[in-house]
Amino acid sequence: MADLMRTGLYDLHLELGAKMVPFAGYEMPVQYPMGVLKEHLHTRAAAGLFDVSHMGQVILPITAVAALEALVPVDIAGLGLNRQRYAMFTNEAGGILDDLMVANRGDHLFVVVNAACKGADIAHLRAHIEGVTEVTDRALLALQGPAAEAALARLVPGVAAMRFMDVGTFGWQGADLWISRSGYTGEDGFEISVPDAVAVAFARALLDQPEVAPIGLGARDSLRLEAGLCLYGHDIDTTTTPVEAGLTWAIQKRRRAEGGFPGAERILRELTEGPVRLRMGLRPEGRAPMREGVEIFAEATGGAPIGRVTSGGFGPSIEAPMAMAYLPAGLALGTTVYGEVRGKRLPATIVAMPFQPTTYKR
């Protein structure tokens, strides 16, 4: 793994017994000795600490609101002070270049992008916006789960007053923490940007809290899938539009009325007329998972595939397999379709997502 980058928490991961794997150019913990299943369940029962320092942290001048709006179908001008929004960079064909979080931090916008896309995203931002700064001296941690507030509030009392998608700056041992109440698990929780100089000490302080255990990328994936959240490069990419992906909730009214973002023609048409295909949730019968790439058919025998699984696995909390697939938009909830697993067509029911109810503190 010689060419891989490491986060500031690398040595801590090893000390905690993590199994490290290559991910988006980084050597990252896929699991700790607890194992993926128990890490997943621990996060839903108490609190899990994730190192997501591989993700891109970017600062834009507050004057870049209009320039950013030209890249995303999201209302940035209407984003309140100390509030955060989900967004996606679209291309001229209406496809998704990446998904991201945008926070209004008063004198600047703070953007968090996916690790695998960050080089391209920053180049994209710089091509359209003056004064783009990549933050390279801060780690990013996520603390997720029903006990996240109690655990974090012992170190940073102010966070208890935050609500879902609030952001703020808080002090800890002389360092500024940039905290948002958000995450990627479907649970209440926080994402914390912390200066490298204190990142390990802060992570240790969180791990010292009785509710908190370290959680790897394996459980991060099963948690986000149960929550019905998209993984870029799998469930969304340049071939899927935000409307097909079921992300229309992220496109606010003003942007629908005014357009002015890449791919607006197609995206606005799909908003009006409906998309041809739609990202849907599947609950396979039995226990066999339908993983990414499994082809979906309308009938138990014959016919051509009507779609393909983009993410699939076993949900430890729902104790059942689950999958996402793009399927013809007319298919109703409750419809039975068939996924071909090892040559056999196995039935699955189209269901609403999330698979596991979310517990955001709204």
Partner: protein, 119 residues
């Protein structure tokens, strides 16, 4: 007990061979969430893919270690696949085979050789 390079263990019970996967294999697989067992009374040849194990990470196959007939499968694994992680060498046996030619087992590793094999 004998061990294969595919990380299966084989235990002889009379004219039957009981087959499971090793602790090393179960740890490498991670938490097992689904096991597809072979049908009983099927004739299998060494190397046939006869079981599927799905963990939280990925799907893997179990190969028939020798020629023979599947005579019994461990139905408990269908409902409680986690047994594969909890007790891989005991309760989580996968199937029993009737084997005509027990000399097929001679070439497999004993416990010490297997320990060297997995390093």
């Amino acid at each position: 007990m004998k061990f294969t390079e595919e990380h299966e263990w084989l235990r002889v019970e009379g004219d039957l061979v009981v087959v499971g996967i090793t602790e090393h294999a179960s740890e490498a697989l991670g938490d097992v969430v689904f096991v597809e067992l072979p049908e009983i009374e099927t004739q299998v040849a060494k190397g046939d893919e006869i079981c599927v194990i799905e963990s939280v990470k990925a799907a893997s196959d179990i190969l028939a270690p020798v020629d023979g007939e599947i005579v019994e499968v461990n139905e408990a694994l269908a409902d409680t696949p986690g047994l594969v992680n909890e007790d891989p060498l005991g309760e989580a046996w996968f199937f029993k085979m009737k084997v005509e030619d027990m000399s097929q087992l001679d070439a497999f590793m004993d416990e010490d050789e297997y320990k060297d094999f997995i390093g």
